[in-house]
């Protein structure tokens, strides 16, 4: 397999200096503030989205139509100065529509040949809208891109740009004609975020912000791809103590299923628990969270703050519990409460 040269790949960053932490914190705070002004009433969602992007993860956002998911991603891409692309998934969407295809081209000199035309997945920030409407074959085309950060076509591996993040959305209603994401693909998303319906005050503020214009189109970039890379590198320098490591492991272990007869244990509802990849995502996201708080060390609170979006789509409930109306968030809330008292 050959590797195609890609001038968009950012070279390795030098060792971060101490002063970069302050700048990173300022950038992250400014980014949150900016996005919170554009998408009103979704402060926590914005914070989680920024956390996932700077932790190098992909995000699955679930929410009703018209809540501003696409708007939020556009604003994020504009604020970070990243090249972004949008894929609107439909049942007839083909994998080549995402990854790209080889087309036959003639050159001005009279020659001709096949040339690989890159698809939208080669953008730095990819918005995959209504991802559950694409066929499994097309969804699988995203697997390699999301995990390996490269696209293999005709035996040639094409690396994706860096930073690279996939932000997919799906609609919890109108499930007819959809293809629910398989568990393997769900596990590749670092966060699954729920976009709630905004409160009344937020709705009122929406009229002031985005009635006659799209504020995302007028966003001035706060940083660029290199700046994002520096912050990502800084997040990897955040210190993680033994106690926090143990707590993260304990949390993942606490999501593993137990005997259904354990009446007082919320884990009796769980069929499959979180994976080791969830543990990695948990710690990486907690590092960014600590950086956003102006710290260079992870605290238990950072782990707790990102636990729910990390674990929500990785924990599967028993069929009996689902039929009883038990939600994953309720089970995880009990698990987190018990874990927090022990940690």
């Amino acid at each position: 397999m050959k590797a195609a040269a890609d001038p968009e790949v950012t070279p390795a960053q030098p060792q971060p200096a101490d002063a970069d932490f302050d700048e990173a914190q300022r950038t992250l705070a400014a980014l949150q503030s900016l996005l919170a002004r554009i998408v009103v009433g979704q402060d926590e969602l914005v914070a989680q989205l920024v956390t996932a992007v700077f932790a190098g993860g992909h995000v699955l956002i679930e929410g009703l139509p018209g809540l501003g998911k696409t708007h939020l991603v556009k604003a994020l891409a504009a604020a970070l100065g990243l090249r972004w692309a949008r894929v609107q998934c439909t049942p007839d969407l083909m994998p080549a529509d995402i990854t790209g295809a080889e087309i036959y081209l003639g050159t001005p000199g009279g020659g001709s040949g096949f040339e690989f035309r890159r698809g939208p997945v080669f953008a730095q920030l990819v918005l995959v809208d209504e991802v559950n409407r694409a066929t499994p074959r097309t969804q699988a085309a995203l697997l390699e891109a999301m995990q390996e950060r490269q696209v293999t076509h005709a035996g040639v591996a094409h690396p994706l740009p860096s930073p690279f993040a996939v932000i997919a959305t799906q609609n919890p209603i109108e499930l007819e004609g959809t293809y629910p994401l398989p568990e393997a693909q769900l596990d590749r998303f670092m966060f699954k975020l729920l976009m709630p319906f905004p409160a009344r005050d937020a709705l009122r503020a929406v009229l002031d912000v985005s009635l006659d214009e799209e504020p995302a189109d007028a966003v001035a970039p706060l940083t660029d791809a290199a700046g994002v890379q520096r912050i990502v590198a800084l997040a990897r320098e955040v210190l993680l103590g033994q106690r926090c490591k143990d707590a993260a492991v304990d949390l993942v272990v606490a999501t593993q299923p137990v005997d259904a007869a354990a009446a007082d244990d919320p884990r009796r509802h769980i069929r499959y628990g979180a994976s080791p990849r969830a543990l990695q995502s948990l710690v990486r996201a907690a590092r960014v969270r600590a950086l956003m708080a102006g710290r260079v060390h992870v605290d238990i609170d950072d782990l707790a703050a990102v636990a729910l979006p990390v674990l929500r789509h990785r924990v599967l409930l028993r069929l009996e519990s689902e039929l009883d109306g038990v939600s994953v968030d309720a089970v995880l809330a009990e698990v987190l409460r018990a874990w927090r008292t022990r940690a």
């Binding site: 060792q15 320098e237 992870v298």
Partner: protein, 383 residues
Amino acid sequence: MPEFDALIAAVRRRLRRERLRDALRRACWTTALLLPMAAALHLALHALPAAGVAAAVAIGWTLWIGAAISRGDSDADCARWADRRLDGASAYETLLEQRAAASAAPAHARLQAWAAARVPHSLRQLAGLPLQPALARPLATLGVAALLGAVLLALPGRTPSQGADSAPSRPARTPQAPEATAPEAVSPLLAARSDRSLDEIARATRGLARSAPRGRRDDEAPRSGSSAAPRPDPSRADSAPQRASTGPGDPVPSAADAARAAPAPADAASATASTRPGLAGATGTDAGRSADERAVLGASRALPGLLDVQRSHLGPRTVDAGAQQASDEAGEHFDTLPAAPSLPASALRAPPAAAPPAIAETRMTPAETHYVRAWARALGPAR
């Protein structure tokens, strides 16, 4: 990093003080629990020396406090406590780990600066935290318990001889007069037990008497024991052995009941006939014309027809002819043996019977008096 070290040292002192207070609290509560128990033991079962109790308490306190003082806290423990209680946000523990690893990470220097700026705030928080656990209640409880224990332990305790002094006198009397109802024959414990059960017996008997019709038949009388014993039937010679034996389904009579029911029915009947003026000169023709009050003495009789029923269960006696013949031959053989020439006739004579001991006390104990009155009250309406 002196600020951080100062914080760790302050936390260590704080943890030691809290551990000491916790040991004091445990010692106070335990002592407050044990002192009344020791006093109760002292008064009820065995006398305890106050000095011994004090020495045991002192040893316990020494062990508790010694264990609390001797246990040390590591730097990691102190850092973890500071992280949790002083808003350290895991910084102190992480800093300790980084310092131990001599880390040169860029974040290490920043963490040191962060912690150095945080230490004064943590020290102020530490000074403002109240010491746990509170000792006011345990100390107050200990004071009350110590005062109570000291007063009770100062009282003369129960010695083992007090509980055993009546025991040697019983075997001296009982072999000669097992039927005696003297108060010495009933141990204090048994008497106390009888006192407690007398009311219950009386209530049960009274209830039985009230529920039974006035002209109840003998068949309906309770079969067992002497507590609700039916009157003996003079016409049945085998009533006494039948009364003495209790069936497998009958309740086992208590020791007190056995002691009271000890007089043989024949003796009781004769004593009744000799002491009761109404019955002293009674003849057989007077039977049934006066109330029979012998039941108040505790005599009982078997149910009429019971022995017949029991005998009816027995099959006819079968005598083995061979065994009978062997027995006859053996008897004849021993009859033909020469008499032993050795012992004189005086040696074979039985010694004269010793005079029975004089009755020292004929008055009934309060328990027995209560018992008899209860019987009389219970049987009164039935009669």
